[in-house]
């Protein structure tokens, strides 16, 4: 039985909850073998492979809900604060780098401070630094230096979630 190139890398990355990104060689392999990998992950682990033009990742019934929620809160707060600051939040998240100091400014001066302080992973500078490292491990951001990072195309996963909230609400109202 022959496996495609980078098979081990693909399995290791996806199984560790990483988003595989289009600039990685393994992404191309995944794209070329989408059907077999979908079957492979389903048959071996009962995981669902989600492959879009921006990222690939695995979905299981067993979800790390707390981490997902904290990620959503982090991106939601950042989007809100950027917009409040008069920035095009989507463009900034898509195309530019962030300094940790900038993030700190937004979070410490946010009107959502109660929410931030009650969240274990976002409550203070150290927690936020650790959380940013978690985002880095999952390939949601890419650290460009010790105190700088930029978002990867995996951020669209969360932006889609935000859009869906509005779509579902609108659909519910229409019903």
């Amino acid at each position: 039985m022959e496996f495609p190139n980078h098979h081990r890398q693909i399995v290791e990355d996806l199984m560790s909850g990483k988003f595989v990104l289009p600039q990685e060689r393994s992404f191309q392999v995944l794209k070329e073998n989408e059907q077999s990998y979908t079957y492979f992950f389903k048959a071996s682990f009962n995981y669902e492979l989600k492959l879009t033009q921006d990222y690939a990742y695995l979905i299981s019934d067993e979800s790390n809900e707390m981490l997902s929620r904290d990620m959503c809160i982090f991106i939601a707060l950042l989007s809100y604060e950027l917009d409040r600051d008069g920035k095009n939040f989507l463009e900034r998240i898509q195309f530019s780098e962030f300094e940790i100091e900038e993030i700190e400014n937004y979070f410490t001066n946010s009107s959502y401070i109660d929410l931030i302080l009650s969240n274990k992973q976002l409550k203070d500078t150290d927690s936020r630094k650790n959380f940013i490292n978690t985002l880095n491990r999952r390939n949601i951001i890419e650290k460009t230096a010790d105190n700088r990072f930029s978002f990867t195309s995996a951020h669209k996963f969360f932006m889609d979630f935000a859009s869906d909230i509005v779509k579902y609400e609108t659909a519910e109202k229409d019903e």
């Binding site: 560790s16 979800s63 707060l77 095009n88 932006m159 909230i165 509005v166």
Partner: protein, 398 residues
Amino acid sequence: MIQVEPRTILRFLLEHFEPIHELYEIQVGNGVINHEVLDEILARNENHIKSQLLDYKILSPVNSDFEIRTVYYNLIEFILSEFKPMLPETIEKYHTSIAELFRKIREQLNGDKVILNNRLSELANEIRAFYEMVEKNTLSLLNETRELKANVKKIDYREKIVRASRWIDEYIIPLNKILDINHSASIANKLYDISEYSNKYRLNFDEESSRILFEKLYFQLIQVNDNLLRQSKILTNELLPLIERIRTESIILTGWITFLKNPYKRKVPRILKRKEISVYSASTFFNAAEIFEQFKNDTDVYFEDEQNDDEKWIFDKEHYTEKLRSNLPVKDFFNWCNKTLKEEYKKVEIEKFFALTTLAFDEDIEREFDPKADFEKIKINDLTITVPKITINKHGIS
């Protein structure tokens, strides 16, 4: 009939532009100018120009209210560059008028030349009016979109989504269809046909005045088609992406704000739980406890030197050669080895057996071996070995 010189009207417009502009804004907002509002504006500007406004036919009465006549309205709109986007349905009407004129020109090309020339002039006018309307609409849509982007009026995100969606679905996409030259039913496509047609007859028509009009129409259309292409590019390359972005941004932000209202009560996207082989596992504590428990009872442990009771066995070749010789002829050599050892020792080790079998390689021995004979099995302790049957008849010269 206006009983006044044109210059007087223009001078009047210039002198009283402030209140007229104000009235224009009222009409833009409300559709009509309420008579009380009119009086209030005129009184505030200390102007008593109501009668002139009516005499010069700038205002016309609508029941008890008033409105600015279309010709002045368009003039003010034009000089202020304050166009409101028009629904594409309004622009679409030119499709009918242009197509109809073109059909009649083709059908009655060899008919009355005066009518033909009038139709050609009318067609040129309609095309000009159509283009101006498209240009005005693109400009106004761009202004509206940029205003929405800057959000000067601080409208909320949901309203932004509604507006952006409305601009896209009701104005931009239908307008783009009108301008799409590849679409057979578009006005742009019709203009292209007219351009081809006029190109043919500007060079090849008997009546000179008509030829000149065809030529004029042809060059007008070259210009108009270029401009329409530019407008179409503005729509698809600038306006549509810009307004799509506004819509997407507003939808996402509205989603996040809704989420942040109650982040712990909403379902969140599924993120894979990492499954790592960790140094620390659920059973680590118990495993560690088990190890430590072994060292809990601190009793002394003594080690004694191991004493080897077995003396090292040395193969006495001479002794066994003698024994073999005395037992000659031996019909089954390996069986003899086993039997001999068993007679001497309680337990026969395999090393002893192998040592004894070396006698078979003695040069002085005469061996007989039937290759067809079955192999035999000999059991030595727990080991069963399969050996051939070898007969020894003679040793040395005996």
